[in-house]
Amino acid sequence: MDLTREELLEAYRTLRMIRAFEEKLNELVTAGKMGGFLHLYIGEEAVATGVCSHLGVRDWVASTHRGHGHCIAKGVDIRAMMAELFGRATGTSRGKGGSMHIADVQQGMLGANGIVGAGIPLATGAALSAKLKGTGGVAVAFFGDGATNQGQFHESLNMAANWKLPVVYVVENNGYGEFTPTDFVVPVKDIATRAGSYAMRSEIADGMDFFDVYEKAGEAIRRARAGEGPTLLECKTYRFAGHFVGDPLAYRAKEEAEDWIQNRDPLARFEGQVLEAALVEADDLRRIDHDVEEELAAAVVDAEAAPPPGLEELLTDVYARGES
């Protein structure tokens, strides 16, 4: 494994930040301090972190309704994210987008997306840009198992395969689309199989294991950058919380969830792995935990104090004309 101590600590910091950020959101929404439809990524942190560890600003990411983790891993400022979730003018979208539309195009983040499957062609287009403009960048689309039943998935992967675009399609197979178990609606055992329709490479990673994701994503991204075309990377994972904050979770068995949460938590797994191999010290991790908490607390304070967008903002940003 080729990660330096700094890189490992950075990865842990991202894992922890995603976890803590969303625990904070859960708290805030449950307390009635934050509105909107929120979909938590808790449990799936290793996927975003493992993939995005390979990306820089010239690379593009398109995300989903469950997008906080991808945004954090892609380097979006968490203060601006928090402010966005509070609907403030200092938010990533100046308070006009909310959870499902957090974006930072400067940072290569093409946005969370409220339409299941819609990020897939966006990433495909970003890959086309990178290829034609010769930037050396790659594009990554994150999406769920459910999204692989959308026509946009099929049409995009086919185009990318035909054109050998520098793109990696990362499917986060968490076993459910909303309340419906994946095996009700996807008749193949592994979603990776679906790459076969496009003669595309595919790979399966343990989405609860940062290192497995890191390695397999690294290889796919390397191939994409080298002009060897796209990959479909399936990461087997699980969402620890409900589909959205407030979901009573009536549709899944408690033992099933308990098992994942107790035995396959990606943060605990990472910690065990790096401590066992003595790559970092427990203290390093605790310091990060602490820093993350402080940073988040400050982000909440800042966000709450920030001004909302003015009412004139209702009509701005509809068109570029006059503003460019």
Binding site: F37, G98, H101, N149, G151, E178, F179, F184, L315
Partner: protein
Amino acid sequence: MSRVLSVSQAINEALTIAMETDPDVILLGEDVAGGGTRSGDDVEEAGGVLGTTKGLVTKFGPDRVLDTPISEMGLIGTAVGAAATGLRPVAELMFIDFLGTCLDPLLNQAAKLRYMFGGKVRVPLTVRTVTGAGMQAAAQHSQSLYWMTAGIPGLKTVIPSNAADAKGLLLAAIRDDDPVIFCEPKRILFQAGEVPEGDYEVPIGEAAVVREGSDVSLIGMGATVATALEAAELLAAEGKSAEVLDLRSLAPLDEDAILATLEKTGTVVVVDESTPRCGIASDVAALCVDRGFDFLNAPVKRVTAPHAPVPYNKALEDAYIPSVARVIEAVRECGI
């Protein structure tokens, strides 16, 4: 006999009655059963993302209440095919915003098959879909795109403003031999109202005068009917008499009812939660200045959302949705 039910419960009741009275009625959509059909002691079905179809899979079984993949194009297209071949499907499009992922089966199939086949097929399809803003669900989960379906020849589009109409309109929609888009406005879905028991239909194509008046006509639909009624109340306090018309059916439009209220008051304000271009409000105004020209005493004002996506921030979202204050202001601009 009637009881107090929410709009959502009234819809559930209409679905139950429709399925009990006609074995060809089936439901399909994402999570309409909601997973729980799998098994397990401590799992139960969700009954739709907002719980509206709760209990139906238990009652009618998974053959008639089908959880589909997240495949709007496929599921609506499949429903069209089923409707053309003897079933009477009720498909759920979770939010009308997702029309973008299933327009073709509605636009080019459901709406046109009968015409293209010279009248030799029926497409008794109902599409239930949630519309509108008000829950900070932002730009892709808050639209009022019923103008898109209302504008398509061959489709019908209805939108109830209360629980009793929701039940009767849905029963009428399901039993109609044409494809009907049934809109469920988010803001009123959990509002309660008196709902008659038993089996009844509210005819498609008939608006309802929900408050009589003589000085100005306020025309609303779905959640804006309540806005219009509130405005009428305020106007009454100043001695001005507003009539409120609930369109209920957006296509076909009840032109007679619109012209009748215009004739009575000479002044029309349309209140529509949708964006302003190519919408229902424009159609009502255009009707008034065409067939109703001789009745017009004042400009026809349209109180709509702005020509912009729906914002997330709560204060902006509130400003986005037509308010009572904006209705009153429009009435003033008509010189009343």
